[in-house]
């Protein structure tokens, strides 16, 4: 589904991501973990196309998409959420989700009318909101939702686009334990029912070990380990770099 080869990105002297080569199989739920500043979000930007790499390439479903900008990669099937909630605050919950569908599906340059575009995208958006449990808040401005629901809305927007690959950047960040549990359940449901390939960046180790099929560990921008949750738990390198304080 996704493969990176020698992917790197530097900001001045700082090498945020260096020589990252990894592959994610279709249907897999992969977690990427690592301490703060390990380059996880930068890696997401490189995969989704918001940042251009300084080295290496990105292959998606066998095609080299390194040269494509973020919008084109999204249209090919890579949707994402952001670590810091990124929504359209003054638009309604429904419109946030609907516009996500419309932008991917096309018809956005219909200047007058376009009823069919609006109707079709609204249907799909409502399905997605129903799936995420946000249907009864569809008409509220997104900015009035509590933080946890805003995180869910981001996922709803991405899921509504029916991507092949979903990138979730710390979906449980700042959530209360109850909300975290609900979000984990939603992600599991999305992964199973929609048969999506998911890459998840996450700090909460309970969430990671609960959800992930495989885990990749980043440290100072480099991939230092990869394996099943059990293997990662057992790895001495990972313990030293990251998990030492937790167990």
């Amino acid at each position: 589904m996704l493969e990176t080869r020698g992917l790197g990105r530097s900001f001045g002297a700082l090498q945020a991501v260096a020589d990252v080569s990894f592959g994610v199989e279709a249907g897999e739920l992969r977690a990427v973990i690592g301490p703060n500043g390990a380059g996880k979000t930068t890696l997401f930007h490189l995969i989704s196309g918001l940042l251009a790499p300084s080295a290496g390439r990105v292959l998606f479903r066998g095609d080299d998409v390194t040269a494509l900008a973020a919008p084109a990669r999204c249209r090919r099937g890579i949707s994402r959420t952001f670590q810091i909630t990124s929504i359209f605050p003054e638009l309604s919950v429904l419109e946030n989700t609907r516009i996500a569908v419309q932008l991917k599906a096309g018809g956005s340059f219909r200047l007058v009318g376009g009823r069919s575009v609006l109707d079709a995208s609204e249907r799909r958006a409502r399905e997605s909101l129903m799936f995420l449990g946000l249907a009864d808040r569809a008409d509220e401005p997104a900015s009035t939702l509590p933080h946890g629901d805003q995180r869910l809305l981001e996922i709803a927007m991405a899921v509504a686009q029916e991507p092949a690959l979903l990138l979730l950047d710390e979906p449980t960040q700042g959530l209360a334990p109850d909300d975290t549990a609900a979000t984990v359940a939603v992600i599991r449901q999305v992964a199973h029912e929609q048969k999506l390939t998911i890459i998840l960046v996450e700090h909460d180790m309970d969430v990671v070990f609960d959800l992930a099929d495989r885990i990749s560990v980043l440290h100072f921008g480099r991939l230092i380990a990869e394996g099943t949750p059990a293997e990662i738990r057992a790895s001495a390198d990972v313990q030293k770099a990251y998990l030492g304080g937790l167990d």
Binding site: C74, L91, R110, V112
Partner: protein
């Protein structure tokens, strides 16, 4: 019928009755208000719906005015031909300006649009052989409605044409902001980065709406020239761009009808205050500040908050 529909219908009837109930100078003032309203409404497309702060919108009003003046004076064509010429010239110039300006955002976008507008102002000022320099082009006639058709020279006839143009423009702009394209504009306004990550480059959208806004500003200018009988560099000066921003803000950003009302309030204030004092700008400024501070969302935004739903 919803209250806003009732209000809209009432406004339409009032506009249509204008020529039969208003005195000539009142009708003339109303024409002026409508033309300024059209200008402000066109600015709202980019400012209110797309979140692009253009500080050079007067340039397109001015281009419309000059094109219209030349077509009427030099070629004696019917007024609609002049209007089409004004819209065409404004839109054509907006393509390269918008293409360059939309490469940047925020203050840089504002500065670029301002710079281009001042450049066009200077061209109008210096190109004496074409534009008449600082004197402008005077004696622009209100010709006929179509070849061999009724004359628009009377203030009633011209008023009806202007009112029809403004109402039609409002309806078109309303259809645009409710279309898939218009919805995309509002998403760009809310969060450009998110928009990008959802599958579309915002720049083509911004360029298209910039050109559309310029075309409607051009129409306003093209009406202005025969209405006032002249086109001069002042209508392209940055002060008029700034006044446009004030009109939009007073009436209500992102409401279309609000900026039309805002323009009316602005011009009426100017009319009334300037008959008492030459320092009317101070008082207009005070009113502007009061509205921004105490009526956020402008007149229409405030009315909607108080329960008149649109």
């Amino acid at each position: 019928m919803s209250p806003s529909r009732v209000l809209g219908a009432a406004a339409l009837v009032a506009l249509a009755l204008g020529p039969w109930v208003l005195a000539r100078h009142q009708l003339s003032l109303l024409t002026d208000l409508l033309i300024s309203g059209l200008f402000a409404m066109s600015l709202d497309l980019i400012l209110g719906y797309t979140g692009m702060l253009s500080f050079g919108h007067a340039a397109y009003f001015g281009l419309g005015a000059y094109a219209s003046a030349l077509v009427l004076l030099e070629f004696a064509q019917p007024v609609p031909v002049a209007l089409a010429a004004g819209m065409l010239l404004a839109g054509a110039v907006a393509v390269p300006v918008g293409w360059l300006s939309t490469r940047s955002t925020g203050v840089y976008f504002a500065m670029l649009t301002l710079a281009f507008a001042q450049f066009l102002y200077t061209v109008a000022y210096k190109w004496r052989s074409l534009t008449g320099g600082s004197d402008g082009i005077a004696g622009v006639p209100k010709t006929e409605l179509f070849w061999g058709g009724p004359s628009l020279a009377s203030s009633q006839a011209f008023y009806l044409l202007a009112a029809a143009c403004v109402v039609l423009s409002l309806l078109i702009c309303r259809a645009i902001v409710r279309s898939p394209f218009g919805r995309a504009l509002q998403a760009i306004r809310e969060n450009e980065r998110r928009f990008t990550s959802l599958g579309r480059d915002p720049r083509p959208f911004k360029l298209v709406v910039f050109v559309i806004a310029a075309v409607f500003a051009g129409l306003a200018g093209a009406l202005f020239a025969p209405f006032r009988g002249f086109a001069s560099p002042e209508v392209m000066f940055w002060v008029f761009s700034g006044q446009g921003l004030m009109m939009v803000t007073i009436g209500g950003i992102g409401t279309l009808i609000g900026p039309i009302l805002g323009a009316m309030v602005f011009i009426l204030l100017q009319e009334i205050l300037s008959s008492y004092t030459e320092h009317w700008m101070i008082f207009t400024g005070v009113v502007f500040v009061l509205i921004v501070v105490f009526l956020p969302g402008g007149l229409v935004g405030t009315a909607r908050r108080l329960g008149v739903r649109g």
